[in-house]
Symmetry: C2
Subunit: 277 residues, 2 copies
């Protein structure tokens, strides 16, 4: 392909921008790739931005100057986010999901790429302005959600392990007490998985009393990390909370094992005046 | 946006196709969304396909007829895949990655979204024709790779757990002996995480003797699943293998803890006459 027409350039630029969220791409990179004037590239980018923003997919951010360029900031408008989560709440309210002990089966949902992408887009919208450097989660079920958020924020994920693994090298460890079950757990994070002084977003699948997130916050303080946000897919009613300001996308109001009923509603994100960047 | 110009349509279609790999989208869906004749949509799709295929990103597949439509089949050409993996092999050959016991630190790489996307694209290319229904992996380090592959194949992931978790509901369990360490491990998979008779792709981060993959194959036979392929990011030299036909992207030739040298080369994928779909 020697001569790139506008329509062809637009396909290729849209693809590159979507695949590398938050990555700054110099206009000269595009100008050279397509052998086209920067002014034409700017016009292309205006079209891409307009479509992205009017379809509620976020938009492009252009930085002027020598170190400038363009980057894609993924987003999801509140209405779409509510639709995604209302549909998920209905799915979670299926009594077939009730497990012994009052747990709710969610693992299948955490393996669906299309749903994960949408949830990742919601997290990226909510925390877009926090200048997040890294997403941290704890194994196992938090991992798919953390990866989805990180992909849309364009930052790496560090996974806190339960116990201590030889394949993680030198680790920092904390012991934590689960707020709901009062069980002691060891959480460890590899020294080299997180740069000191990172601005961290904590993501997990489920929160009851918040003992795990409390443990992660303690662990992260050993890395001089600043926790700029925390989000869970589902929070459960709990009398006492060990952490504050955790954003939830869904909330379990009640699970009745005998009556076989579950009530899952939208989470606290939708109670607040959430504005998309 | 009432009137969609070609350039605007192309941005939106490219975005939708990329975000939903392997999902068949009827042409009428596009025609209605843009209030445009199907013939114009077909022309748009021709442009998108041409750019995708000439830039080594896979291409579009069009199915004619009433149940027809278009879908994006992600791909990566062999040359690009080799470049991605050569760069990763160099990174893995850094002696700072040597851990006590002859292990290699890889966790940081498994948390990088851009790299995971590229590796996912490679897996999707290699197994594009196997009509995969589900990707199966074992916790913990296989999860990011499995999710990346599944996202590009447009199929769900099921995660095999070590031990047995109350949040997984009814599970099938096998006991397996690690080929290298001779340790007994319990692998379990939730009954409802995988449909019976699925065509499964197994993905993991690391293989030595292959005991874990062997265990997964045994476990999957309880689900009447057909294992249509297995892939690992890195394989290590082992005298005896418990499984055959596992595709590796990289191969550890040697780790010398005393001399502090590591030799990582391209995996067996690149030895074969690998053809991209």
């Amino acid at each position: 392909m020697n001569k790139w027409k506008r329509s062809a350039r637009i396909v290729d630029m849209t693809r590159q921008l979507i695949q590398h969220p938050h990555r700054l791409i110099p206009l000269s990179t595009f100008a050279e790739r397509y052998d086209t004037a920067k002014s034409s590239i700017s016009e292309d980018l205006t079209i891409i931005h307009e479509v992205m923003s009017t379809t509620g997919q976020g938009g492009l951010e252009t930085l002027a100057g020598a170190a400038g360029g363009v980057r894609y900031i993924p987003g999801m408008d509140r209405k779409t986010a509510e639709e995604v989560m209302r549909s998920l709440c209905r799915e979670l309210s299926n009594p077939d999901r009730i497990l012994p002990g009052g747990f709710l089966y969610m693992s299948d949902l955490l393996g669906q790429p299309a749903l994960l992408r949408e949830i990742g887009q919601i997290w990226a919208s909510v925390f877009a302005k926090e200048q997040v450097n890294a997403v941290v989660t704890v194994e196992t079920k938090g991992i798919p959600l953390a990866l989805a958020a990180a992909a849309h924020l364009g930052v790496p994920v560090a996974i806190v392990r339960q116990g201590n693994r030889v394949t993680e090298g030198s680790v920092v460890t904390v012991n934590t007490v689960s707020g709901s079950s009062r069980r002691i757990r060891t959480l460890s994070l590899s020294r080299r998985s997180l740069k000191e002084g990172s601005r961290v977003l904590i993501i997990d699948d489920f929160m009851k009393a918040g003992g795990t997130i409390r443990g992660m916050i303690d662990l992260l303080s050993e890395f001089q990390a600043e926790v700029v946000g925390a989000g869970v897919l589902v929070e459960s009613a709990a009398q006492e909370r060990l952490v504050e300001n955790v954003v939830s996308l869904a909330k379990i109001k009640s699970i009745d094992e005998k009556q076989r009923t579950v009530d899952v509603q939208l989470g606290n994100l939708f109670e607040k005046g959430w504005e998309v960047g």
